[in-house]
């Protein structure tokens, strides 16, 4: 028998075989790593990269009066902002739902766009640094534009589709922390940090890592916490806008929720407003049940106007600020309109679930006395809520005789003039200018006082039956 030569004996040794395989694997991994995108320096130095970026409130606060921030306090690189369309390549249904939402058009819709322009350029406070002061609005409506330095008089940042998408996927999915009581977009967003992990090669290699990097709810509890929403659903006009002190609270939705029984039961904004069936979820809470949590990205709220598919589509798309991202590439118009109708119907159903009306009538001598009680039966915040000069409730009361003839009518809506009977009982907040006159165009830069025709209706005082109590100390 022939004795093996030295090299053959060497390669036959188990330890040697193991070391060889290990070395080959290591070399292969290193070679593959070379193919992956390299970490590039995405940081933006204002002096070097955006020398004309205006910072009238100091270089230490480049986004102010928005309360947005980044991990390093610097601007983000517009090249690092992925658009919703790229997310939709894999997450089509989520992207489609989001595209029908008001979040998707928060920077585009014509109502907002014309209003912020009016504040920036036609208000008294807007005469000095009006555009920069507008970062107060844009921080929540156009967070990526603010973070990238696009909201400045001499803009040298490329306007990409991603930069126009308002509250897009990346806005929530890159948040590190939130300060809901500070409001005005008090979120720390790591847009530059997530850029690398959006590369298709990494997604294919490690999808679970992608879920972690993009703050999937199971990885980042903040994604399911009201604090995330509260950072923008709290609006406080800072003194920097018009010099007025103290700062003026204009939206307190998070604070309303914080003091509500829903907060005490641990029911988060997302539980209702991101439910697949928001009205059914709330109805179940009202019945004392513990409904199953589901997730959609329609962000069902109150804005039934910009989802109104009964409007002529040309007018609807004009009001929404154009066609949705992804149209014709990810989905067709028919599919989009069907989804938009679902969102619209969800909004109407949720609104109707919030209120209850009780009527009591009593004859006394020759008079009929009618008492109407309106209660907030389902909202985990006040009713109405949000920017209360832009939405309101009112009562219409009509009494008819036995022949059906109207003998009393208060609160009728004139569909030609677009206004209701001024004697109606209304729940509305009026913004008044320095002369005490009502200002109905949302010129908050010049708002002097706030006047309530009736205060918003507080949530029901009792914790929904069937729900456990939230941990002690929650919410903060």
């Amino acid at each position: 028998m022939k004795k093996p030569c030295l090299p053959e004996r060497f390669f036959a040794m188990p330890l040697t075989r193991f070391l060889l395989v290990f070395a080959a694997t290591l070399l292969l991994a290193l070679a593959l790593a070379r193919l992956l995108p390299q970490q590039t320096d995405l940081s933006v130095d204002v002096e070097r990269d955006l020398p004309l970026y205006s910072q009238p409130f100091g270089k230490a606060r480049p986004f102010y009066p928005a309360e947005l921030t980044t991990p390093d306090g610097k601007l983000i690189n517009w090249r690092a902002v992925p658009g919703a369309r790229s997310c939709g390549e894999c997450h089509l249904q989520e992207t489609l739902e989001w595209a029908t939402s008001i979040h998707a058009i928060s920077d585009l819709d014509l109502v907002y766009d014309s209003t912020v322009r009016e504040n920036n350029s036609a208000s008294q406070a807007g005469k000095a640094h009006g555009l920069e002061k507008g970062r107060w609005c844009e921080g929540c409506h156009n967070p990526l534009g603010v973070l990238a330095g696009a909201v400045t008089p001499a803009n040298s940042v490329q306007e990409t589709e991603a930069m126009e998408e308002g509250t897009s996927c990346i806005v929530c999915h890159a948040v590190n922390r939130a300060e809901p009581l500070a409001g005005n977009g008090a979120l720390e967003m790591d847009i530059n940090g997530v850029f690398r992990y959006g590369h298709p090669a990494l997604l294919a290699a490690a999808p679970s890592r992608h879920a972690k990097d993009m703050r999937a709810r199971r990885e980042q509890p903040l994604m399911g916490d009201s604090a995330l929403c509260g950072a923008c659903h709290t609006e406080i006009r800072p003194t920097a806008v018009n010099g007025a002190t103290p700062p003026m609270n204009l939206q307190d939705t998070y604070d309303e929720w914080r003091h509500s029984p829903y907060a005490k039961a641990g029911v988060q904004c997302q539980d209702c407003h991101m439910s697949r069936e928001p009205a059914a979820f709330v109805a179940a809470l009202k019945r004392g049940e513990t409904p199953k949590k589901t997730v959609s990205h329609r962000f069902v709220g109150n804005n039934y106007l910009l989802t109104e598919t009964a409007l002529p589509s040309s007018l609807l798309f004009a009001l929404r600020g154009g066609s949705p991202p992804g149209l014709n590439r990810l989905y067709d118009r028919k599919t989009f309109m069907a989804e938009l109708e679902k969102t619209h119907q969800s909004i109407l159903a949720l609104l109707k679930e919030a209120a209850e009306v009780e009527v009591t009538a009593k004859a006394l001598h020759q008079e009929l006395r009618v008492q109407v009680a309106v209660t907030n039966a389902g909202a985990g915040h006040a009713l109405p809520t949000g920017p209360l000069d832009q939405r309101y409730l009112w009562l219409e009361v009509e009494v008819k005789d036995r022949f059906g003839a109207t003998i009393f009518h208060q609160g009728a809506f004139d569909a030609v003039k677009g206004e209701e009977d001024p004697s109606a009982v209304r729940w509305m907040k009026e913004v008044r200018d320095i002369h005490g006159a009502p200002e109905r165009r949302h010129i908050l830069f010049d708002a002097h006082t706030l006047h309530y025709t009736r205060k918003p209706i507080a949530p029901p005082p009792n914790r929904p039956r069937g729900l456990p109590r939230a941990p002690a100390g929650y919410p903060p």
Partner: protein, 71 residues
């Protein structure tokens, strides 16, 4: 409210409306030269309660959202 005739029944109808208060903002759009948005912002009927008082008595009558039949 005074009633012309208390011997017969009356119908009380109460409606709770919700509306986006952006009608005046649409005027901004025209003033800024972006074109006239010729639309009336419609309200949404949140709740409606109808009550038939029956023959008027001093007894208070009550009905609330979701109750199926009037008195």
């Amino acid at each position: 409210m005074p009633l012309p005739d208390t011997r017969h029944s009356h119908t009380v109808e109460v409606r709770l409306w919700y509306r986006m208060a952006v009608q005046d903002i649409l005027d901004n759009i025209e003033r800024q030269g972006l074109g006239k948005v010729d639309a009336i912002v419609p309200p949404v009927l949140l709740q409606e309660v109808k009550m038939n008082t029956g023959a008027m008595t001093n007894r208070p009558l009550a009905i609330k959202t979701g109750d199926s039949s009037p008195f």
